[in-house]
């Protein structure tokens, strides 16, 4: 994984805007627009695992959906292995589907209740036109990869007969069965009990270690992101605020929002600070984000330039920060 070969995944000012208001409003062009993703730029090397961290409504899930082409970008470019993902059709799209997969958040909803586990895992194989003879063997191999006990006993069973942890492993097995090169996991453990979460997270780490697959892990929980990803991108109201090695961000967050985020995470032992958070109250409203830097209305260190102009990314050692406090030097 040297720095010279081209990035596997590249986003260049990617945007995902949703018009709201009736069709009439759209016709008149006066429809208000929700900017779920508002100009996101970052790259992923082959084999890298990156966390997309942020609160609900920050655009992390929408970014994930654009990467696996569940939604088409409405602006900018989303590239996988040099190809613009939004324009793929026909055979190219089918090939893309076998190389890029998504692990869904809610295992209880991610499987069709009427399908047996075999049907669930056979579906991607059918789509990739893999001969029926090979199905059995590949299904068993995928289930072994995600550490599902003796796989055979699950084959004929139905989703409602399995526990949350087992279901999430089946969801992962389905995503990995075609041996994709890039995988997006959207808060895969947030619906599971804590004691079961660790098991699924460990499977995720082992799969990455064993297959070297490139991965994006979407979450609102910094502690989980830290456990799985060596690099983290922090998002706020559809934009990136900070991007860098996870350990550095946890130890020394630069952007005021990241600082508040890190300070707000409670830890499971008694001696932790109860100091008030360095952030204003107020809820981010994606329908009408503040002008300039979208965090300025809650930022303790905001000054006049923040309301006028959106900050441009600044590189500080191995970190990128989008904040006027730092882009003064350029």
């Amino acid at each position: 994984m040297n720095d010279t070969d081209p990035p596997l995944v590249r986003l260049d000012a990617a945007e995902l805007h949703f018009p709201i208001g009736g069709t009439l409003a759209q016709l008149r062009g006066s429809a208000t627009v929700v900017k779920a993703v508002d100009g996101v730029t970052f790259e992923l090397r082959r084999g890298e695992s990156v966390g997309l961290l942020g609160e609900s409504g920050c655009g992390k899930t929408s970014t994930g959906r654009m990467l696996v082409r569940l939604d088409k970008a409405t602006g900018g470019r989303v590239e996988f292995d040099g190809e613009d993902v939004s324009t793929l059709t026909g055979a190219a799209l089918k090939r893309f589907r076998s190389r890029v997969q998504l692990i869904f958040q809610n295992p209880f909803e991610a499987l069709n209740p009427r399908f047996s586990i075999r049907d669930v895992l056979a579906e991607p194989l059918d789509n990739a036109l893999i001969p029926k003879a090979e199905h059995e063997e590949r299904i068993l191999r995928a289930m072994a990869l995600v550490k599902l006990g003796d796989a055979a006993q699950f084959m004929g069973r139905y989703p409602h007969q399995l526990s949350g942890g087992q279901l999430q492993r089946i969801v992962m097995a389905r995503a990995l069965i075609l041996e994709p090169e890039f995988i997006v996991a959207d808060e895969p453990v947030s619906m599971l009990d804590v004691s079961v979460r660790a098991g699924v997270l460990n499977v995720f780490r082992e799969v990455r270690a064993k297959t070297g697959i490139t991965a994006i892990y979407i979450s609102h929980d910094l502690a989980l992101v830290r456990y799985v990803c060596e690099r983290t991108i922090v998002m706020y109201l559809g934009r990136i605020v900070e991007d860098g090695p996870t350990e550095d961000i946890v130890a020394n967050p630069l952007h005021p929002y990241t600082q508040a985020l890190v300070a707000a995470v409670p830890v499971p032992h008694p001696d932790q600070s109860h100091a008030p958070l360095p952030i204003g109250r107020g809820a981010p409203d994606p329908r009408n984000p503040p002008s300039g830097c979208t965090f300025r209305d809650r930022c303790p260190k905001a000054f006049d330039r923040c309301t006028v102009e959106a900050p441009s990314p600044t590189r500080i050692q191995n970190r990128i920060v989008h904040c006027h406090l730092f882009d003064l030097e350029t």
């Binding site: 609160e55 609900s56 526990s163 942890g165 009990d193 804590v194 004691s195 079961v196 979460r197 660790a198 098991g199 997270l201 460990n202 609102h220 929980d221 910094l222 502690a223 989980l224 830290r226 456990y227 350990e247 946890v250 508040a260 985020l261 890190v262 707000a264 995470v265 409670p266 830890v267 499971p268 032992h269 008694p270 932790q272 109860h274 008030p276 958070l277 952030i279 109250r281 809820a283 409203d285």
Partner: protein
């Protein structure tokens, strides 16, 4: 030790499913001191919400209190008549639900729902209720002009603040909060938890906080009650219980929780899943998943006994808690032979 505000003795709650009774909570025993926050911790299905909700005596249609006592300010609310219990509701015991969204009536303004409680339950006049509502909104940090807004116009965090204002309306002695911050983002969660701490410090209100997140317990609770499969397995002061747990389940929970403050250690899951409460295993219900299980664990039910002062645990090997705790740290202890 002052007279406890609430004292639970062997409280049991059963659900009738068809002809069969499922015991969702069995023999729950713990105290709540005045002006203190007690964390009721456990995973899904352990009965923590059922237990907390039963203290309001508003149970699901097929649920009933099967036994035990709940002495609140000297009166056993289990035996109280419906009229007497209703007298306590909201005036003495209030409730904050998990997602305030559908716990607020969508067709009334937030202000009128606040006034409804103040006037019909608090006996206030219309104008007094108005000023009191504004006071409450200022206290929880919402602009008073938003009293005229409807529930759907509030964000998650703001709705939770409205729920707190509602709970405070009649200055209750006890507030039961059922996973109040679970659905919130981490920054708003912190602000709501700070407000719960203010309830205790400035208003001396006791809170029973139901949660599955021991980090939240560590941040805000004075004491903690750990539940597993319908039974209380450990209870004690928060600091002692979290740093020196005496029950294997609490030890296991600690390993499963990622800790941002310390180095990124290995997370260890507790293999297997909680028992089906319709026909629970005999003896200790954690036995099937416990790495320190012994023969007697599968036969006789462990009883809550003191490990250190008011730090109790229900485990046959409580005496060896010190050594078990060290062994529990290592992830190999929890690995189930493949």
């Amino acid at each position: 030790m002052t007279e406890p505000l609430l004292c639970l003795k062997d409280l049991s709650i059963a659900y009738r499913v068809g002809t069969h009774d499922t015991i969702a909570v069995e023999g729950a025993t713990f105290d709540v001191q005045p002006g203190s926050i007690v964390g009721l911790v456990g995973e899904s299905g352990c009965g923590k919400t059922t237990l907390a909700r039963s203290l309001t005596r508003v149970l699901a249609s097929n649920a009933r209190i099967a036994g035990g006592q709940a002495v609140f300010c000297g009166e056993d609310i289990v035996g109280l008549s419906e009229r007497a219990m209703n007298g306590l509701r909201w005036r003495e015991i209030a409730f904050i639900p998990q997602s305030a969204m559908n716990s607020l009536d969508p067709v009334y303004t937030v202000g009128s729902q606040l006034a409804e409680v103040l006037i019909r339950r608090g006996g206030m006049g219309r104008r007094a209720a108005r000023t009191r509502s504004e006071e409450l909104f200022e206290w929880v940090g919402i602009e008073t002009n938003r009293l005229g807004d409807y529930p759907h116009q509030f964000s998650g965090g703001m709705r939770q603040r409205v729920a707190i204002a509602l709970a405070l309306a009649l200055d209750p002695k006890l507030i039961i909060a059922d996973e109040p911050v679970t659905a919130l983002d981490v920054i708003v969660q912190r602000q709501i938890l700070d407000q719960l701490r203010e309830l205790r410090e400035r208003l001396g209100i006791s809170v029973i906080l139901v949660t599955h997140d021991i980090s939240v317990v560590a941040y805000v609770c004075d004491r903690v009650v750990v539940m597993y499969a319908g039974r209380v397995v450990e209870t004690g002061p928060m600091a002692a219980t979290l740093t020196a747990p005496a029950h294997p389940y609490t030890m296991g929970l600690r390993n499963a929780f990622p800790d941002l403050a310390s180095a990124a250690g290995e997370l260890t899951p507790i293999e297997g899943s909680p028992p089906d409460l319709a026909n629970p295993p005999p003896g200790c219900r954690f036995a099937p998943r416990c790495p320190f299980v012994e023969a007697r664990c599968q036969t006789d039910v462990p009883v809550l006994q003191s490990y250190e002062g008011d730090h109790l645990a229900a485990c046959h090997r409580i005496a060896e808690a010190e050594t078990l705790r060290k062994r529990a740290m290592a992830s190999e202890t929890w690995e189930v032979p493949a």
